[in-house]
Structures are given as C-alpha cells and as structure tokens.
Amino acid sequence: MIRVEGLTHVYQTRQGQELKAVDGVDLNIAPGEFVAIIGHNGSGKSTLAKHFNALLTPTSGRVWVAGISTSDAGRLWEIRQKVGMVFQNPDNQIVATTVEEDAAFGPENLGVAPAEIRRRVDEALQAVGMEEYARHAPHLLSGGQKQRVAIAGVLAMRPACIVLDEPTAMLDPVGREEVLGTIKRLNRDEGITVVLITHFMEEAVEAGRVIVMENGRIVMDGKPKEVFSQVRRLKELHLDVPPITELAQSLAREGVPVTPDTLTVEEMVQQLLGN
C-alpha cells in the first residue's frame, strides 16, 4: 500500500536553519495492515505520515502510494483519494459550517452521488457517535467532539488507507475505546489499511505491528509483544509500556509465574488465577 525508500525530509525554518525531521527511512506497509507508530515528541512521526498522502514530498528518497509516486504532481488527487488523513489538531481539518457538511466535503469532492453521500455521512457520524450534532457548527464543539468530526470526515471518503495522527488525544476513556474499536473494525472487516500515530501505549498494543521512531529514524519495528517486552529500551526512547506490562515484569521478578510480555488486564487475570 505504502512504500518508502530512503526518505529524508529537511525543513527550512524561517531563520534559515535546516532541520532534518526524517532521516533515511525505508518502510513497506502492505494492504490491510494495522500499524502503530510511536516515538517521542519531535521524533518525526507527523512529518513521516504527511508523506503518505503527499502533503509533504521528500527532500530526498521516494514514496509510493498504491504504486503511484507522491512526487508525481499530476496524480495528487488519486493519492488523496486512496489515503485519508486525520490531523493531530482537528481545527486544521474543519472546512464547513455544519458537522454534516464537513463530513460530506470529502465525498462531494470525489464526485460521489448525493444519495450515496447522505448514506456515508450518516454512517460516518454514527460510527463516531456524533449524529446528534449533525447540524451543529463544528468550530463550536468541545475538543473531543471536534476530534470525532475530523475522523468522520475521513471515514466518509472510504479511503483504502487511513492515517490517524493522535486521533484520541482528547477523548474520554470510553470515547477512545469506541474510536479505536471503529478503527479496528474498519481494518478487520473492510480490509482498510490503518496507520495510527499515538502516545498511548495501550492503543499501540492493539495494532498488528508497532514502529518506533527516534530522531527521524525507525529504531524498532515488530509485533507489539516483541516491542513492548523491551521496557528498558523503550524508556530510553522516552516511551513506556502499559502499566499492566510493567506490573507483569515486576511480579515476574518476584517469582510469580506471569510472562513479561503481558499486555492486557485479561491476560494478567488469566495468568494469575486461570479460569
């Protein structure tokens, strides 16, 4: 779905400094994968992700989306149709004066028929629990509500791949579970490729693959259990493991028979008490 070869991105700051935000990244994301990207503030996650739908193009190296090079300016539209992006700040995503028009914006631009747009918008708003707010003004919503509307806008486009940059940063715990559930369902049932950038380790464990960035490079790439069993390494990288994993490791040191790669509450209960 996404192929990245030798990608480097250098920002030019207004003071004329050069800042290398992504530094020689190679990466292949297959159709249908669910990939989480974690890494400390400023490690280059958003910069990398913006290359996946050609919002940024490489300073050097290349990026292909479904076989199309993102440097091919003539095919920008095709790329944006394939890869939908939810930004880190939902304010940047709001384009219309009502929530439903906002969600309809993407499909309208794709030339989708009005009846189909209606259906998609209703479905998308329902998926994020915002149907009650269809006629509200998006810029007058609470922080978490805006975040949900931004996600609905991308869902309504039905892209083959969704890139979400910290989509749950401002949601309450149940809202986070719901949005994560929606993402997982789209991935599992509809085969949509998902790239999820997050600072919540409990969310990253739900992905099929976890990529860790540091200083513009990929420093770890593996299954959640492989990545999260390396507590010390993660802590060096300003990251963490879910509290449950940390507890498992400290109990294991005391001789309690639990595995150090325990990731969820249920796994822990099972190991401590069986059924």
Partner: protein, 293 residues
C-alpha cells in the same frame, strides 16, 4: 477564600435553535493550596467551567469569585484576575501567536511590567521547566514545532507568569510518556514549593489518580461526583456509565477481586498493585498449603 462557584449555569448561543446549556447549576469551592482534578466525558462542560475561573467567560447566571472578587461584577479588574489565575488552553494553537517561541513565552511576563532582565530569566526558566532546549527553540516560529513541542511552549507561556492559581486543560494530551511524566513532576514540585493552587483537567485516569487528592467529575454540565480520588475510583460502574473509566491497574484489582483474590480495589500504581497482589497470593498459598506446614 480562593475560588467559589455558586449555582453557575451557562448557555452557548442563547436564544438560537442551537442553544447548548454547557453548565447547569454548578457549585463548589476550591480552597487555597488545593490540587484538584476535573474529569468528565467529552462535551461535559469542563473547558466551559474553567474558562469561567479566569473570567474568559463571564458568569451569566450564578456567581464565580476568586479571592473574594466577584467575576460577574461590571467593574472587575480582568487584568488582575488573569495575573492571579493562569489558564493553559486545551488547544495550544489558541494560545500561541507571537513570531518566535521566545517572544511568545515573554508575552505574559512582559505584560506584568517586569524588567527586560527579569522577563528574559523567566522565559528561559519556563522553557527549561517544560523540558525543551531554550537555545534550540527560542528563534523558531511556534508553527515550526511538532505538536507536542507546541503544547509545551503554550504551557511555558503560562508558567512564566507564575500565577497563584494554575489551571491546565488537558496539558499532557499529545506528550510522549516521558514528557508527560516530567511535566507532571514539575507541576507537583511547583505546587509543593510555591504553595499554589492547581486545577488539572484530564482524560487520563492514571494521571489524575497519581496527581490529585480531590476529584470533581462532570457529567452533562453538572457535577456528578466531588470527593477524594480513591473514593471516586471505587465507583467503577458509575464512571463507566458516564463515559469514564478507572486506571488500568484499578481495573485489574477489581477483576481479581471478583475472582476471589483479596486485593484492595483502589490500587493505582504499579508499586501498590505489586504489593497487594504479592500479599494476596501469599495468603492464598498459605491457605492452600497451610496444613502441610
């Protein structure tokens, strides 16, 4: 004295078809030197409530007072209130507007009428306090920062004012785990050393469990619960019903209890959970093997 909110009701877009009552008859008092958490579902009124506390929103119905000053009074000195009560917004983009990071952080202290040297010192200290490298970021535009870095700069701008009451609206959203822990430690340290009042709005249950003593739970514009944090996290069902949760380890303790392991169900930290589980497992072992001894 401190902060007194009495029967506060607030409606956005009053008199239009989109009128939304964000606060219904909210009352509470926060004493000087308290550290209070506010949690609540998305849209429950948290941000609306705290914007009343430094008069960004003026009370329409009901009363808000800070140190005895009625924020609804027509001739209230807004500047004095905002010096005393510092508010970090939920969206840093709404707070940061100067051309460079250094100028942005200096904006508040400069308005306090401090000398240039004093302003410069505060700016450096505040940027260091949030864990950023002053020399590396001072000349950059705030929009040339990553999402998390921008949030830290917004926080630095308020810390540089050294307010007596520090209100933070989801300050750790978008911070990496280490950055989050370091920021929270810094806030705790300021709280302890300076004796300030802190109000922390958060969706992170681990974080409030660790930081605050008292927790206010908002639900649909009303206060659903207000009390010591451990008592509140005992009410797992109620919290779930209103869109919230208990910390992950509290959930574990509860599940273990349901299955018969005698652990305290209000553990929050890894250390607390470890001690409780080891003790309970030890007892189980003793009971199981006691007759062999």
């Amino acid at each position: 004295m401190a902060i007194v909110v009495k029967n506060l009701t607030y409606t956005y877009m009053k008199g239009t078809p989109l009128a939304a009552t964000a606060l219904h008859d909210v009352s509470f008092t926060i004493e000087d030197g308290e550290f209070v958490g506010i949690i609540g579902q998305t849209g429950s009124g948290k941000s609306t409530l705290i914007q009343h506390l430094n008069a960004l929103i003026r009370p329409e119905l009901g009363r808000v007072s800070v140190d005895g000053v009625d924020l609804g009074a027509r001739k209230v000195n807004l500047r004095a209130i905002r010096e005393k009560v510092g508010l970090v917004f939920q969206f840093p983009e709404h707070q940061v507007f100067e051309e460079t990071v250094a100028a942005d952080t200096a904006f508040g202290p400069r308005n306090l009428g401090l000398s240039d040297a004093a302003v410069a010192r505060r700016v450096k200290d505040a940027i260091a306090a949030v864990g950023l490298d002053y020399e590396a970021v001072k000349g950059r535009s705030p929009y040339e920062l990553s999402g998390g870095q921008l949030r830290l700069i917004a926080i630095a701008g308020v810390l540089a004012m050294q307010p007596r009451v520090l209100i933070l609206d989801e300050p750790t959203a978008g911070l990496d785990p280490r950055g989050r822990d370091e920021l929270l430690e810094k806030i705790r340290q300021m709280y302890e050393e300076l004796g300030i009042t802190v109000i922390l709005v958060s969706h992170n249950m681990e974080e409030v469990a660790r930081m605050v003593k008292r927790l206010i739970v908002m639900h649909r514009g009303r206060i659903a619960l207000d009390g010591p944090v451990r008592e509140i996290f005992r009410q797992a069902e109620l919290l779930r019903e209103i869109g919230l949760a208990t910390p992950q380890l509290t959930q574990l303790a509860r599940r273990l209890r349901e299955k018969g392991l005698k652990v305290d169900e209000t553990v929050f930290t890894v250390e607390e959970a470890r001690v409780e589980i080891l003790a309970a497992l030890g007892q189980n072992q003793a009971r199981r093997f006691g007759n062999l001894g």
